[in-house]
């Protein structure tokens, strides 16, 4: 197996040394240097540089011993054949990633300037978030956590709504009630998240069970982090989903850390995907910095779900390039070197050079995309900053379908305090 890590080269560049681009669009290099293997009903896509460089992620950096690998079925081929997106789609995925990156960087800036209170950046995870969300249909339901810019934007949230929420203004879907970075939208089937880890997973199972019972051919997807796999509701939800074979995709964004805790302190399992075995469901590990691989794997899992094939656990291996949140200082617990190494695997560069290799993308396309993204962000912020905060009365609303007597009284009290406003 090639050890690319030690050379610390660009991943696509490295891959290009094995198989020429352009002819075999997806998993080209995968079949060359990695293995995809079925153990029990776990698919594991190994190799792919990620694993060789992810020292510190796991106690045992190798997911499976080779003896096991040799019994596995290579599934790369049929994934590629059935799910590779059309050239226009690939470009759209890339363009969305550019937009998400721009929106993300601007949000951090706004937070640093005190113009928004808090933000959870997603830099480094654009391939995981955009690639997977792009595979969803509008009628599918998404359950996210706080690290979701790529998901909500891909799903169609306007940047105005995106920033309205971050600024907690009166156009915020949550009416300024949720902490920033908890985007929700009924119109987009994104259920407004809470902050406790993985509590959204049973909901995704419940909606999926409901759809299954009604005979609706939809799927649900639940996003969470590597740390989330330790939570109670990871267990409760995956177990329930396994028993009832619900059309649910559990998408684990394994970005290496839960705040300061590396995955090796989170679990002793050989991977996160392998945890699917405990629930009798399919597990698959994918290179989370490869947008097209993420897209394909997610799309396949969604289709399987819609067609009655039950749930899938996807472990998408990626890296959080920024801080945990705007309140965090990763220098306290991470080596600079680690970040530098992952920078060479930036998901945007990765997909761009892949597109370039396929002759689908040039310098002008790039300039256009970047400019367009900046423009979008600028307009949205200009708009959102003009919107006033929610009315204080909203403090007392939406607790129940109808306000109870104590809420009525408290609203009255508040109004008096604010001078009857």
């Amino acid at each position: 197996m090639l050890d690319i890590a030690s050379k610390s080269t660009n991943i696509d560049e490295a891959a290009s040394k094995i198989i020429p681009y352009g002819t075999i669009p997806l998993y080209d290099y995968l079949n060359g240097i990695g293995n995809i293997c079925q153990i029990f009903n776990i698919y594991v896509i190994t190799g792919i540089f990620t694993l060789t460089v992810s020292q510190g992620f796991y106690a045992k950096p190798n997911i499976l011993n080779t003896e096991m690998l040799s019994t596995g079925r290579i599934v790369g081929e049929d994934v590629r054949e059935t799910i590779d997106p059309a050239p226009e789609e690939m470009k759209k995925i890339y363009t969305l990633m550019v937009l998400v990156r721009a929106a993300d960087i601007q949000a951090i800036t706004l937070q640093r300037q005190g113009r928004i209170g808090f933000y959870v950046p997603c830099q480094g995870e654009e391939a995981s978030q955009v690639g997977s969300a792009y595979a969803l249909k509008p009628e599918d339901w998404a359950f996210t956590d706080y690290r979701a810019p790529g998901i909500v934007i891909t799903r169609g949230m306007s940047l105005k709504s995106f920033y309205a929420h971050l600024m907690a203004n009166s156009e915020d879907n949550t009416k300024g009630r949720s902490m920033p970075s908890h985007w929700g939208s009924k119109a987009l089937n994104i259920v407004t998240p809470s902050s406790p880890i993985c509590t959204q997973l049973p909901h995704a199972v419940g909606v999926a069970l409901g759809a299954k019972m009604k005979g609706d051919k939809i799927a649900t997807i639940a996003y969470f982090g590597d740390g989330g796999t330790s939570s109670n509701d990871f267990h409760s939800a995956l177990n329930f989903a396994g028993v009832f074979k619900t059309p649910t995709v559990f998408f684990c964004r394994n970005n290496g850390y839960a705040i300061s805790i590396p995955v090796s302190r989170q679990t002793a399992s050989s991977s996160l995907a392998v945890k699917a075995v405990a629930y009798g469901i399919e597990g698959i590990q994918v290179d989370g910095n490869d947008a097209l691989a993420v897209y394909s794997v997610t799309k396949k899992a969604l289709e399987k779900a819609r067609n009655g094939g039950g749930p899938t656990l996807i472990e998408s291996i990626t890296y959080r390039m920024g801080p945990h949140t705007t309140s965090d200082d990763p220098k306290r617990y991470r080596d600079d070197g680690e970040l530098e190494e992952w920078k060479t695997k930036d998901p945007l560069n990765r997909l761009r050079s892949s597109l370039e290799g396929r002759k689908l993308w040039g310098k002008e396309d790039e300039n256009n995309a970047q400019e367009w993204a900046q423009q979008q962000v600028k307009e949205a912020i200009a708009h959102s900053e003009k919107i006033p905060p929610p009315h204080p009365r909203t403090l007392l609303e939406d607790v129940y379908s109808q306000p109870t007597w104590n809420l009525q009284r408290q609203l009255h009290q508040l109004s008096e305090e604010l001078g009857g406003s």
């Binding site: 949550t174 949720s178 259920v191 909901h203 419940g206 909606v207 379908s401």
Partner: protein, 324 residues
């Protein structure tokens, strides 16, 4: 009019609501073939099948969490927690999710499910099959909390709960499940949420109580009557939203208040009743308020009859307050 036990009234309410609306589901542990360990779901599996009467894995968090999801998709799940003592694994789902979803989503999402669970002592259940945990749920904004004390109210309140557009914690006093029968109309009726019931009119002392202790309170009240003290018993029925008007009306009439509950006294629900009276009707009080609660201990196995508010303890409180 058929004569039913409280658990039969619950069973009837579930059946009728499931017949009325095909979106109504029940789910929980051992509620299918087994009909629930207290037989509250008896017969439902045969009538409605495994898609509407769903035996779940042994995990309360997913019982509530999946119910929330089902509700988001348009179903009306009624989740059974086998004993209220086992609701703790679902606490995160209840406190973080169920109660806050409507608010945090700006009103875009809601999950008006019903969680029903047997609670309270008197069944020789020891520390973990006897607890009265209503305090917790009454302090979580976004939840409504209902506790019936007799078969008629049980049916009418449960039917009201199923039709309510808010999440509801519905607690059933297990020691009253089969203790008596009473007449329960065959027809569809509801008992409105948020309305207390004057279980006995009186003029000297108001006794506020709910659920499992109501028969004991009635017994104590009977004895007080024999000693010439007339008590007015207010069965609160809905703990959230509390029927504050009924509480204040009674205390303004009698000028004396005793509050009875089975949970540990300290920070039991009666504290809120006492506080509200002290805030809103202090000038009417002719005596200190008295609370009779369980001891501030875990629930015991042996001597549970001494743990639960006894008729004597209630009577003593009534007398103390009356004679002040």
């Amino acid at each position: 009019m058929p004569s039913l036990t409280l658990v039969q009234a619950i069973n009837t309410a579930l059946r009728e609501e499931m017949q009325r609306d095909e979106h109504v589901l029940v789910l929980g542990e051992d509620i299918g073939k087994n009909g629930g360990v207290f037989r509250a779901t008896e017969g439902l599996y045969n009538e409605f099948g495994g898609n509407r009467v769903i035996d779940t894995p042994l995990n309360e968090s997913s019982i509530v969490g999946v119910s929330i999801g089902l509700s988001l998709y348009g179903f009306k799940p009624i989740a059974e927690i086998q004993f209220l003592d086992f609701i703790y694994p679902a606490f995160d789902q209840i406190a973080s999710e169920l109660s806050k979803l409507r608010y945090r989503s700006g009103g875009e999402y809601k999950a008006p499910i019903v969680i029903r669970s047997p609670y309270g002592g008197g069944a020789k259940g020891g520390p973990y099959h006897s607890q009265s945990l209503e305090t917790f749920f009454t302090h979580i904004p976004g939840l409504k909390v209902i506790i019936p004390s007799n078969p008629y109210d049980a049916k009418g309140l449960l039917k009201a709960a199923v039709r309510e557009d808010d999440p509801i914690v519905f607690l059933e006093p297990k020691r009253l499940y089969r203790s008596t029968k009473s007449e329960v109309p065959d027809e569809d009726y509801i008992v409105p949420i948020g309305k207390a019931r004057v279980a006995r009119e009186g003029k000297d002392v108001s006794v506020f109580a709910y659920g499992a202790v109501i028969p004991t309170v009635l017994e104590a009240s009977e004895k007080a009557q024999q000693e010439g003290i007339s008590t007015e018993i207010v069965d609160l029925r809905t703990l959230v939203p509390l029927d504050l008007e009924a509480v204040l009306a009674s205390v303004k009439k009698t000028g004396r208040a005793v509050i009875v509950y089975e949970a540990p006294k300290f920070m039991g629900y009666g504290a809120e009743i006492a506080a509200l009276i002290a805030e809103e009707a202090l000038e009417y009080l002719e005596a200190p308020i008295a609370r009779v609660g369980g001891f501030d201990t875990p629930y015991p196995y042996a001597h549970e009859n001494l743990y639960m508010p006894t008729p004597t303890r209630i009577l003593n409180a009534i007398k103390k307050v009356a004679k002040y």
